[in-house]
């Protein structure tokens, strides 16, 4: 731990990232090491093949969505800042924080977490989860064990429940409303990222 400050200099934009995301120096260092581990060819950025090299991810039903979330639209590579910024969403929410109005909403606030999850559903980024998008997610999660009819019905009912403005799609507000009783902080936080 004694060398952490000197090692932090090796981390690109270390200080700025610390401020922005709220990670501690130790955590940032750990994440940088992980980044370098994933970056097998030592390019300084990650491509989707590097992510796919994580074996468990291929077994994850929504693995490719998760990987896609790291890449900004149009980009083919992920640099360390983007990597960290995405992971910042998964820090546990700090309680009793008073922030000045000028500060941007921290990445691990409940709202930002939900927005992140929403974007995973809404791949075409039109601000709504359409029926097709929901069906795709359901198909990925439920796999071969469901008939198409059942998937349709589940999607139907889900939209029917959540869709308040009757546009046959779930907007972010509707999404947030449908999850108001769920403890998002619990579900979307990794403890070691504290």
């Amino acid at each position: 731990m004694g060398s952490s400050s000197s090692s932090l200099n090796n981390v690109p934009d270390g200080q700025q990232l610390m401020q922005e995301t709220g990670f501690s120096a130790a955590h940032l260092l750990r994440l940088y090491e992980r980044f370098k581990f994933l970056d097998k060819d030592n390019r300084g950025h990650l491509r989707s093949e590097d992510f796919e090299a994580v074996p468990e991810l291929s077994e994850n039903p929504i693995g490719d969505r998760i990987v896609g979330a790291f890449f900004l639209p149009g980009q083919e590579t992920v640099d360390f800042s983007s990597f960290v910024r995405v992971l910042a969403h998964f820090r546990p929410t700090e309680k009793n924080r008073t922030r000045a109005g000028a500060q941007p909403e921290p990445a691990n606030s409940r709202n930002r977490k939900l927005k992140f999850a929403f974007r995973l559903y809404d791949r075409d980024r039109d601000g709504k989860i359409s029926r097709t998008e929901l069906l795709q997610v359901l198909r990925e999660m439920l796999g071969m064990q469901v008939t198409e009819e059942q998937l349709q019905s589940i999607a139907d009912r889900a939209i029917q429940e959540a869709d308040l403005d009757k546009d046959d799609a779930i907007s972010f507000d509707e999404f947030r409303k449908s999850l108001e009783k769920v403890n998002i902080d619990h579900k979307m936080s990794i403890r070691f990222l504290e």
Partner: protein, 790 residues
Amino acid sequence: MFWRRAAHGRVGFRRSLPELGLLLLATLVLLEGSVLPLGAASSPETGITPGAGVSHGHADKNHSETKHKKPFPVLGLNYDSVKTPFEISLWVLLASLMKLGFHLLPRVSSIVPESCLLIVVGLLVGGGIKLIREEVPPVLDTKLFFYCLLPPIILDAGYFLPIRPFMENLGTILMFAVVGTLWNAFFVGGFLFAVCQIPHASLSHIGLLPCLLFGSIISAVDPVAVLAVFEEIHINELLHILVFGESLLNDAVTVVLYHLFEEFSEAGTVTVLDGFLGVISFLVVALGGVLVGAFYGFVAALTSRFTYHIRVIEPLFVFVYSYMAYLSAEVFHLSGIMALIACGAVMRPYVEANISHKSHTTIKYFLKMWSSVSETLIFIFLGVATVEGPHQWNWVFVTATVILCLVSRVIGVVGLTFVINKFRMVNLTTKDQFIIAYGGLRGAIAFSLGFLLDIEHFKDMREIFLTAIITVVFFTVFVQGMTIKPLVELLAVKKKQEAKRSINEEIHTQFLDHLLTGIEDICGHYGHHHWKDKLNRFNKKYVKGFLIAGERSKEPQLIAFYHKLEMKQAIQLVESGGGSKLPSAMPSTVSMQNIQPKNQPPPPKPTERALPQLTKGREEEIRKILRSNLQRTRQRLHSYNRHTLVADPDEEGFQDIILKKQKMMELDRKIKEMANYLSVPSHPKDSPTMSRARLASDPQAYNIKLPAGGVPTIQVDLASPQSPDSVNLLDEIGKAEQKEDSGLMMKPPESNGPEKAGEKDGWRDQQKLTRCLSDPGPGAEEDEDEPFLP
């Protein structure tokens, strides 16, 4: 007052029912008391009469005790031979009638928890018996308690243990169970020893080790008492599982400490080595118990895989294997309670997938029944045993014990929570801590352990100990039991949510689970979710295939609940007159034509179309089913109340559906004879859920009529005049028609649009089941080769 009430007519009559109940109970109590002396009195008599008769038969032989010939006894009295079973039955009957009685007195049972009332009844009965006979039967015999009364309660708790919250809070529970109990034992034991040294208390003969032994007996939170009291206050699931889990797991600690101190009390000294061995012994006891239980659980699951032909003894396997687990653990001085819990929890998912619906219901009912009766009996016996004694009241000791127990519990909980909160995501608040501390009830296990104490070694101490134990038990059950409910309400502890858990929540929480696992994998951190996922995957791949028969192993929970939902809908529509006429044997009346016209008009918005026949009220019902069926998979706990079974919503209609299905299968066979190129396997080994799946949702029947872009939901089909069961028939007919059209080819549906790819994949499963063996057709084969998951 009785007559005045009766004057009010009907209302008066209803009100007099409780009084009638009381009268009934009183009569029974008297009966109980009088039968036992009668039994004692009649036995000597009955000994003589048959003896006389027999000897008379041998009168012509050598010796004849009596010369006169007695008339043949038409009516004899032989109580002796049925004494034991008779008395047992009487006790059980008393317990059951007590339970009935309490529900007739709602006012009383809302103030006083049932356990208190039962103890009072026990006191009364014990007092009554003592008056009549001057001697009370030793009912709380240790063997009886540990081998007959305790296992059903623990098995019931273990079988229905909500695994997920238990596992999520396992760390906390273990801390409380192990560290908390150790702290309690040493604190109470140590301070009591100090108290015993007070010169005027006449307790100086109690050494340190007996005090520690006493501390270990009294420090264990009792699962029976906790269950009895907590389930009436409907506390939120987290607290419930914490206290209850603690009460279950501290058995290992109690066993080890008890044996340890008992051994050493005889030896007199304790060395460091002994302490070390004690720690090792604890690990052995705890883990050994769990392993034994898990072993028996797997064997039971494996056995249930083959019980297809003899369904009636399926419940027996569950019970016997669990009991064997308990006994086997006891043989090796391992923790029987943990073995029982492990056995029940391990075998449940597999056994439930294998056994029939009726067996499942039987197991549920039997477990609840036995555990209810057991619990009632335990409390009654506690009352009786109190009357019996042996007692030696020592003011100093008893008051010191009570106070020390309370103090140590509070300190222990507060201290542990402080440490635990550093590791928890969701902290325990002060209110939570208070409830946990206050809910640390002692019960019959402590008393039985005290009873077990060797009379020789603990000559003067045993009575004092027993009296103190009884006092603590009474105090906790009565005082804490009665006041916890108002205190809970006073503190406004978060009660269990009667919340609606929508299907959105289901989908999204599962999504978030996957997301979190994925992120953890990327971070390279093996967090909570990773191990859970790994375990699940291992479970699915290997274990389930091994322990569950047939195709049932592939069904995810989400689909199982969805089947139930569809089933419920089917029942509702059928009941609402949607059509209960079964189609006649001729296929021509049952055709696609009846269904297709429904789809000709362009489907309006799904919100109107999707649930055509269901009113708002029905929609609420469906949601309720959704919620209750998902509790097994999801984080949100259903705070189970042991005395009310989780309602099976479609149980009532199930019988009808089964009957109709049987009729349908007969029709199936007739049609098959007609069209014998149909070699559809008749799904003999379907689990109820799978057959329901076939029943209510068949892609073939739907895909045929799939209009482009439309969403033919299941409800649409159910709205048709046919009963939902006829879908099965339609399935056959559909195939028949298809075959007529296109030879032996099973064409994928003509539907188009982006959904085609998904449908084809959805087809694969069904095609495996329904495909004609002779020629599946090229279309189907293509799909076979494509892997579905990338």
